[in-house]
Symmetry: C2
Subunit: 319 residues, 2 copies
Amino acid sequence: MQVTFLGTSSGVPSRSRNVSAIALRLPQRADLWLFDCGEATQHQFLRSELRVSQLRRIFITHMHGDHVFGLPGLLASLGMAGTCQGVDLYGPTPLEPFVTGALQHSATRIGYPLRFHPVERAAADGTPLLQDGELTVTCAPLKHRVPAYGYRVQQCERPGRFDIAKARAMGLPPGPEFARLKAGETVTFADGRSVDGRSLCGPSQPGLSLVYCTDTVFSESAVALARGADLLIHEATFSHRDAGMAYQRQHSTSTMAAQTAAEAGVKQLAMTHLSPRYVPGAQESPDDLLQEARTIFSNTVLAKDFLSLEVGNQACNSL
Amino acid sequence: MQVTFLGTSSGVPSRSRNVSAIALRLPQRADLWLFDCGEATQHQFLRSELRVSQLRRIFITHMHGDHVFGLPGLLASLGMAGTCQGVDLYGPTPLEPFVTGALQHSATRIGYPLRFHPVERAAADGTPLLQDGELTVTCAPLKHRVPAYGYRVQQCERPGRFDIAKARAMGLPPGPEFARLKAGETVTFADGRSVDGRSLCGPSQPGLSLVYCTDTVFSESAVALARGADLLIHEATFSHRDAGMAYQRQHSTSTMAAQTAAEAGVKQLAMTHLSPRYVPGAQESPDDLLQEARTIFSNTVLAKDFLSLEVGNQACNSL
């Protein structure tokens, strides 16, 4: 799984950071998922190596404009390209009237199915939003001025390493049966032997996991959602010194993001959604927020537009 | 009056051209007007020297997404800046439910007044949309797949040159009375003399005029609206060879834009809203469209993002 940040500013775009959007490339399939879609997300796709034509699912954390105002244009452009097979949208209930209203008032006929999936119930009772055999997506309520939801993408447990030398030593004939043994199935061979694939595989590996939490002030629910994740992407709108504003506006400081990462025991934290007030040369810079976070959780990185992180490669990403 | 193109692509943004928006700087006041507001217009402001805080009026030609999807984000950002005194929006009737719907669903409170002015009646009966003593704005229906309107900004007639030498020769005392004489008023001086300012001014000058027509196939109504204008900005989505598509989609070719300019007797034509299919190196390039137009109307320029044109300086702008 590879994450690419397409927008890392909070509230308004700046010259160097667009408003929120994150693309997720999935392994071994040509699917692209999007988390949030601030204005000009389709423009950011044009500037990246990602192919918007591969977009299949969009997850929206909350309805504030800096997270959704790019949706009508992106969906309309997908329609004009004429190759989209359909898009599933997950988010708060007002997502559907917002999108359909914008498309109707602008007389936009997109020509492919849009399927809306309100997330409130799944967030309340913890049931998965999506399970496709390889990936499970769950969500949880955050703490913001409007209903907001964090998302967790969890890869299923992966079978352990197949011991090909042992299989050969047993005289098993190589072929399509090896793939079935590797997947843990029991296979009956031509000589009548029945072999349990699990006996030829090492211990199964936990799947990779990615958690995205924005917009929110520090929240125990975010800690629970992020438990043990390989990568936690968490908002850090304000510096520790501006914690007063963070509480007032229900956003996180750098230290709240780090505290969430530490309490959840994640492997890596990526901070995003920075206030445009923090720029190099200002009283506090993005680097100051990064240093604040690292005093609490050392494996922290600061997102910037077009940064890509490989989930499951968190040690390498740390500096 | 200075025009700056903020988006010159039709339908979808490209890497070099954003979707439609044009800013108009007005002489002798710190007001900025905007014509159309495609997605990421606020981002284009960030990349220009224009100050979005000076925005007072927005005129929308029609409701297609590439002309309006930048409005919610721009209005929200103006609200966050906290300095806006109010914005007047002119356009088709669905403009109001589109904007208010987007702001409501995203829980955006902008904190300044938005005043909506539907343009259908003014377009039908030719009455001005706006007259402020210096400028008159009129509009006219165009021919597109949805209701679309062209706009004309007409400066009022300007008084002729004040003959200061003649006033001095008459022994008139310089002072604030000179400004009144210059404006064509009759002034009574301390010595009892009553002087008609018009007798000291040369012949009055016609005001400058700017006309913006998009989206439309060739239309007599556009010709009438553009009559004698200093600058006509007209869409040219397609090349002459692609006229079939132009008629089918109710857009103009380069030659239709030039024909409108020639029939209306304008001083200069600027073509915008080019299909992204025309790029340098493709079968036909933007330069090909320009050459096609110039065979019909020689004083034609091709707009590109961030090009500025001074209205009333059309001879200089021609190459």
